[in-house]
């Protein structure tokens, strides 16, 4: 099984090296490489961060300074699914506040936390460019608009059931 502690699989390493090769300096591939690792493991563990840094000829400290800078790079484990509920202005006007409260109640967690069954992590996100369908959210890679409590409840049920 792939774990966040095991070394990166060879194809991932190869892909990172390929990303690095097309940059004038390998560090240019930093964000792309970390996103790649995250796509595979859900988050970027310290072990993986170190490995990526080595591949890019950077220190782990250096790369971590970048990893911790960006919102979408997770340096802590997340659940199997990540709900990113927009907290920016249009969605706020259109009622994201009560929706967030509803989600927290239903999931029994606060924003930034993961459910006990490790199914869902709830995170706030800045405007995701779906303001004409506010309130909006990203569930993993999929955009959802005009969200209401009913759609939320249905969604949570399906998420809990999907691996």
């Amino acid at each position: 099984m792939l774990t966040a502690e095991a070394p990166l699989p060879a194809p991932v390493r190869a892909e990172i090296l390929a990303l690095a090769a097309r940059e004038p300096h390998p560090r240019g591939a930093g964000v792309a490489a970390l996103r790649l690792v995250q796509a595979r493991f859900g988050w970027v563990s310290t072990a993986h961060l170190r490995e990526v840094a080595g591949l890019l000829g950077m220190s782990a400290d250096d790369l971590d300074g970048i990893a911790t800078y960006f919102n979408l790079l997770f340096r802590r484990p997340v659940g199997r699914h990540v709900i990113m509920l927009c907290d920016s202005v249009s969605c706020w006007i259109m009622g994201r506040g009560p929706l967030c409260a509803h989600l927290c109640r239903t999931l029994g967690i606060k924003p930034g936390e993961t459910t006990a069954d490790n199914a869902i992590t709830l995170l706030p996100t800045v405007c995701i460019g779906h303001c004409d369908h506010a309130p909006a959210m990203l569930v993993d890679d999929t955009l959802h608009g005009d969200v209401d409590t009913a759609t939320l409840d249905r969604l949570i049920d399906t998420l809990r059931d999907t691996p």
Binding site: H25, A32, R35, I66, Y69, F70, G129, D132
Partner: protein, 432 residues
């Protein structure tokens, strides 16, 4: 592209059908500009056409696109590494126009980039895409692959001797990456701190090489300018500016959305005709005309023409042209607090006033909204609006952008602020 249409940017976009492939794009008039330009027009000729078209940057600052390009050193692409970068970071709250273009017709952006790159003789193209745009990312990759396969990208395009290719950089979420110098820093695998100018990106940009950064919408206009001529484009605008603009409205209107309209279309027309007016039971109180970092206009400004000059005269900025509506049943202080939370969180942390001033502002607004506001808080808010709002106080335009809604809001909603503080609660919250 024939026949000339009043919706050149969105004519080919059909959300139901998905983006056109290379063949469909070509049937609808695509690639014609590239055929006309590459090897046939001098690069300087392209720059000249774009200047004459009166195209101004659609990323928010509204700088003349042709003029911006004119600062790029003139060596042929083969002799010097240069970059053409599409700014597809679109993280300005309330803004969703670039996503429409990216998802709806990625080939149009690609062609725009080829033309721009040819004009400034850049051999390397990068699309700086915000990380959350997964669908756009997939479609861009597909379209680039197809364009490359068909010879529109790569070595010696159309036998013109000009080579150009594009890659997509998926960012990892940070509003400041949209600021063009921070974007360059991010592409170099660093923390996205803005850079001081000089050097301007056109002379010392990505990895120190000459670079042009243009907004997606800006670039998407280029094929149409080249095909139909700069005069045609300039004539599309209703006022001083050339072309069409994608306008949008969000908030409690009947039909929130985005529409391509002649630049300079009056705001009233956009809100009432296209967005269907306010939802029943809601009145228009005020609005941010062009995204979160523009100043509030109140309902009396609704007849302003949505072009750069007119909106500025009205006391705000056209920005991205994507309006956010504040209705009479939403607390303006709550709205400003939401905006300032965004700006405080998205500060890059480089300069003191922005890094440490914005969180203070956010807390003051929290306190006022939650009923623990004090009279002195208004002085503090005013002081911050003054200190962070004027240009040159902070390192980049992030903090002045953040202060635009605050400073205007302090004036427009003075009574609301006073009521919050006097009553020790938000009068508009349930139970009020």
């Amino acid at each position: 592209m024939t026949p000339p249409t009043e919706r050149p940017l969105t004519a080919m976009i059909d959300p139901a059908a998905g983006p056109p492939d290379c063949a469909a794009y070509e049937r609808a008039g695509g690639w014609q500009a590239t055929r006309n330009a590459l090897g046939r027009l001098a690069p300087a000729g392209i720059i000249d056409m774009v200047t004459r078209s009166k195209l101004r940057g659609r990323g928010g600052a509204g700088f003349g696109t042709g003029q911006k390009w004119s600062f790029v050193p003139k060596e042929p692409a083969a002799d010097r590494r240069k970059y053409l970068i599409a700014n597809a970071d679109e993280m300005e709250p309330g803004t969703f126009k670039d996503r429409l273009l990216l998802e709806g017709n990625p080939l149009q952006l690609i062609e725009g980039m080829i033309l721009a790159a040819y004009g400034v003789q850049a051999g390397h193209g990068v699309i700086f895409l915000r990380g959350e745009y997964h669908l756009a990312c997939a479609r861009l990759h597909h379209a680039i692959g197809e364009a490359r396969e068909k010879g529109w990208l790569g070595e010696n395009i159309l036998g013109s001797g000009f080579s150009f290719d594009i890659r997509v950089h998926s960012s990892a979420g940070r509003y400041i990456c949209g600021e063009e110098t921070a974007l360059l820093t991010a592409l170099e695998g660093r923390r996205a701190t803005p850079r001081s100018k000089p050097p301007f990106p056109q002379t010392g940009g990505l990895w120190g090489a000459p670079s042009v950064v243009n907004n997606v919408e800006t670039l998407c206009n280029l094929p149409h300018i080249i095909t139909n001529g700069p005069e045609w484009f300039a004539g599309l605008g209703l006022g001083e500016d050339g072309g069409t603009k994608i306008y949008g409205v969000s908030g409690r209107v009947v039909k929130p959305g985005a529409w391509e309209l002649p630049i300079g279309t009056p705001l009233r027309q956009i809100i009432e005709d296209h967005a269907g007016g306010m939802r029943p039971g809601y009145r228009l109180r005020a609005l941010l005309p062009g995204g979160a970092s523009t100043a509030f206009l109140d309902a009396t400004a609704i007849d302003v023409a949505m072009d750069y000059g007119s909106v500025e005269k009205a006391g705000s900025r056209l920005g991205t042209g994507m309006a956010i509506i504040l209705d009479d049943r939403t607390c303006p202080i709550g709205m400003i607090r939401n905006l300032e939370h965004f700006f405080a969180q998205e500060s890059c942390g480089w300069c003191t006033p922005c890094r440490d001033g914005l969180p203070w502002v956010e807390r003051l607004l929290d306190a006022i909204e939650n009923g623990s506001g004090q009279e002195e808080d208004m002085d503090q808010l005013g002081r911050h609006a003054r200190m962070l709002g004027a240009p040159g106080r902070t390192f980049c335009a992030h903090a002045p952008g953040a202060m635009a809604p605050l400073a205007s809001g302090l004036k427009l909603f003075a009574a609301d602020f006073a009521a919050h503080i006097q009553q020790g609660r938000c009068p508009q919250q349930p139970g009020a």
